[in-house]
């Protein structure tokens, strides 16, 4: 598979191309590139001979910034990486610093973190699956899903005051305790989601014959390719590889919850197609809902503790380094943090972003597709440019 990765496929001169081929710039301002991604397509009619993605339009020097602010000050910056799933980003960073400092948070805080992370996963997948439907041309499921995402954002706003960028997971705790009555509100949301939104999504979009025909045979990513390009999260599971950090290397007490790892099965075509990746996301929403039911129940049973109990007065780890990864909605999000032990700023923060590796396989999957399929492929990889460019 690696031999398919030839330099000629993603680098060419304008003078080289045949007269009947056309260079089409898709993006950075384009309705379906999911952010400021620019793709240079070499097209022959409707067929794409080669695609070259250009990233970097949203580069904000996250890693350099992180070296110049103190450890808690990095958290708002992590929120801005994957802005569709901010809770997941700050959770990974907080856990990494806690591990570096040897802080162990109480079970109550762990459950709160699981609840917000899984709510965020549902919200993030709502956007992913919804916009994917819109890429294929179905507008209605998108709004149905955004309606439910809105309810999750309401819960978050109730909890910590912010709707998109929360600064919620702190080193050693969370910023606010869950409000009074949160379990009931969360259950109300889940009941409605399980009973209406999810079945409707499966019938209206996923089960639609046109949708299946558009997605089930394109963008097939076989297991060796997926592994060699380090795809993670739903993209890898879509190819049928059962890797989920919540199961394989549990954090925050994920081992206490009963949930399944959703895999692409190739129901309507080869395994690892765009359809499979999207279906994995849709099914993961139902699994997250299962986790949430258990977590809310556990929350009521667990002894309540102060959520700021373990928050250190001054976050100043001893010299050392840590690599910690979590299962963010888009895949494995890893933080590599080096502490020199002298200042309150991290010496180095490096992020291993799931979207970046997903983007790296794009040009191989895109070869020989039609233009409409390129859109379907970008949507199925579910990239967020804020995280690719950081």
């Amino acid at each position: 598979m690696a031999s398919e990765h030839r330099a000629a496929d993603y680098a060419w001169d304008v003078g080289e191309i045949d007269t009947d081929e056309m260079i089409l710039n898709m993006g950075p301002q384009h309705p379906a590139t999911h952010g400021v991604l620019r793709i240079e397509l070499r097209t022959d009619g409707e067929v794409v001979k080669a695609a070259r993605p250009h990233i970097g339009y949203l580069h904000r020097c996250f890693e350099k910034h992180a070296e110049n602010v103190d450890y808690p000050g990095v958290i708002p910056y992590t929120d801005r990486m994957d802005y569709v799933a901010s809770m997941g980003n700050s959770l990974g960073y907080a856990l990494a610093v806690e591990k570096l400092m040897g802080i162990e948070v109480s079970p109550y805080v762990q459950i709160i973190r699981v609840i917000v992370a899984e709510l965020q996963r549902i919200a993030s997948h709502c956007v992913a699956v919804g916009t994917y439907g819109m890429d294929i041309g179905a507008f209605t499921p998108f709004l149905h899903l955004l309606r439910d995402r809105e309810k999750i954002l309401d819960l978050f706003e109730w909890t910590c005051g912010a709707r998109l960028l929360y600064n919620y997971n702190w080193v050693g705790g969370v910023s606010h305790d869950l409000p009074e009555g949160f379990p009931r509100a969360c259950r109300d949301f889940l009941r409605e989601f399980d009973a209406i939104t999810f079945p409707e999504l499966m019938e209206l979009l996923i089960g639609n014959k046109i949708f299946v025909k558009r997605t089930a045979n394109i963008g097939v990513c076989p297991v060796p390719l997926a592994v060699s390009f380090d795809l993670t999260g739903p993209n890898l599971r879509g190819s049928g590889v059962p890797r989920d950090l919540r199961k394989d290397a549990p954090y925050c007490g994920y081992q206490n919850y009963d949930f399944a790892v959703c895999l692409g099965k190739g129901d309507y075509g080869p395994t690892g197609s765009c359809f499979d990746r999207n279906l994995v996301r849709a099914r993961e929403m139902a699994e997250s809902s299962k986790i949430l039911h258990q977590a809310v129940e556990a929350l009521e049973k667990t002894e309540k503790t102060d959520v700021h109990e373990k928050v250190p007065k001054r976050v100043k780890p001893a010299a050392g380094e840590i690599y910690f990864r979590t299962e963010a909605p888009r895949g494995q999000l890893g933080y590599y943090i080096v502490a020199d032990g002298t200042g309150v700023n991290p010496y180095r923060v490096k992020v291993k972003s799931p979207c970046f590796t997903a983007m790296s396989v794009f040009h191989i999957l895109a070869r020989g597709m039609m233009i409409a399929d390129i859109i379907a492929l970008i949507g199925s990889l579910d990239i967020v440019l804020g995280e690719i460019d950081r």
Binding site: H30, N208, I210, R214
Partner: protein, 395 residues
């Protein structure tokens, strides 16, 4: 036109002695004026309807701010578009860029000349009406290609090429499905075709030769959807792929003209389908044809056409979009064989039973009505289920 003559000379006795060119001019101008206004203002209703229908399907309110229930929203939008600056990007071919929307709008307006609103309420009863409709409605393709080419934009060019391929492909099954009706009516005049369906529901061409003519209707309607670029066949302007397709570079009034043409074309396809298959201006039962002296033909045609427009909107907000090759597959491998078989079989049957199977009177429409009944009952049950479910959840 004859109707207008009669009306004019009846209302203004002095006109009877006027020179004939005055009569011709007035007899042509008055229907033209009425039709043009109807067609030009219709999209304001359709756009509002589309926005409200999509809003209800998507669990939101739609336009609510301008006027009661947002009724004036589309008027406000139309005024905004009229006063907006029309931008000509560098590199456009100005002449073609200007002419293209005019051709598209003209192509979508012309079929109204022959659409019969009543036994005498028709601008002109051309003896080649069906042929004329299918000829002028494909005029829009020329405009679309012009727009795509003149825009000097690759997305616009893609959209234009797609629309050309699409409309040329779908014209064939559409015309073949038309031919079945023409063979049954024995005439190309739309007036004759409607006359052949007089006498109530059971005589509509849709219900003849059950189940052949319903298939012909579905073929025609599907091809019609493709011809007016509606989802699931909206690839020439697929917003997620080609930004806005052939009208990417258009703004202001010229964009409004494409918009107008699109909605007008929807009405043309719907009204032609109603005329050919759903009895045109005939009521479902002859007793409903008029209230006293007031003929209701226009009402019935409008009702049928608007129902079909509603179906188009319903499909648009439900279905995803096909890919280019799948679109061609549907046209050439599904609709075309079906329509060819229909032409041959219906042609043979017309020789044996010119007015449909003898038992059609009792078979076709009841089955169709029962199917529609199931559909409506299913819809009502789905709505009430979701209401009940919501109430349960909120309790």
């Amino acid at each position: 036109m004859e109707f207008t003559y009669g009306l004019l000379t009846g209302l203004i006795p002095g006109l009877a002695g006027a020179p004939s060119w005055v009569l011709v001019a007035l007899g042509g101008l008055i229907p033209a004026f009425i039709t043009f206004n109807f067609v030009g203002l219709g999209p304001i209703i359709y756009v509002y309807a589309e926005r409200k229908i999509s809003a209800f399907m998507q669990d939101r309110l739609g336009p609510m701010r301008v006027g009661p229930y947002g009724l004036l929203q589309t008027i406000a939008d139309a005024i905004k578009l009229l006063f907006k600056e029309a931008i000509f990007p560098a590199g456009v071919d100005k002449l073609l860029f200007l002419v293209a929307p005019i051709i598209v709008v003209t192509g979508s307006f012309l079929p109204f000349v022959v659409i019969p609103w009543g036994a005498r309420l028709q601008a002109v009863d051309l003896n080649v009406g069906v042929f004329y409709v299918s000829a002028v409605s494909s005029l829009a393709t020329v405009g679309l290609i012009m727009a795509g080419w003149a825009s000097d934009n690759k997305y616009a060019l893609f959209g234009a090429m797609r629309s050309a391929a699409q409309i040329v492909s779908y014209e064939i099954p559409s015309v073949m499905a038309l031919l079945t009706v023409v063979m049954m009516a024995g005439s190309l005049s739309l007036q004759d075709i409607v006359r052949g369906q007089a006498g109530g529901l059971q005589n509509w061409y849709l219900f003849r030769y059950f189940p052949l003519m319903p298939i012909a209707f579905l073929t025609f309607f599907t091809a019609g959807l493709a011809e007016c670029n509606r989802t699931p066949f909206d690839i020439p302007e697929a917003e997620s792929e080609l930004v806005a397709g052939f009208h990417t570079e258009y703004s202001g009034f010229f964009f409004a003209m494409f918009f107008l043409a699109e909605y007008t074309e929807m009405f043309v396809i719907s009204s032609v389908a109603s005329v050919l298959f759903l009895g045109g201006f005939h009521a479902p039962h002859p007793s409903l044809q008029a209230i006293g002296a007031l003929g209701l033909g226009w009402f019935w045609l409008l009702l049928k056409a608007w129902f079909l427009i509603f179906v188009m909107m319903w499909l648009r907000w439900t279905l995803p979009r096909l890919r280019v090759d799948q679109l061609m597959h549907v046209a050439w491998k599904v609709l075309l064989p079906i329509s060819f078989v229909l032409v041959v079989v219906v042609g043979g049957l017309v020789l044996k039973w010119p007015a449909g199977f003898p038992w059609d009177r009792w078979v076709g429409w009841p089955i169709t009505l029962v199917l529609m009944g199931f559909l409506i009952v299913g819809m009502i049950r789905a709505i009430s289920w979701s209401r009940r479910r919501t109430e349960e959840l909120l309790a």
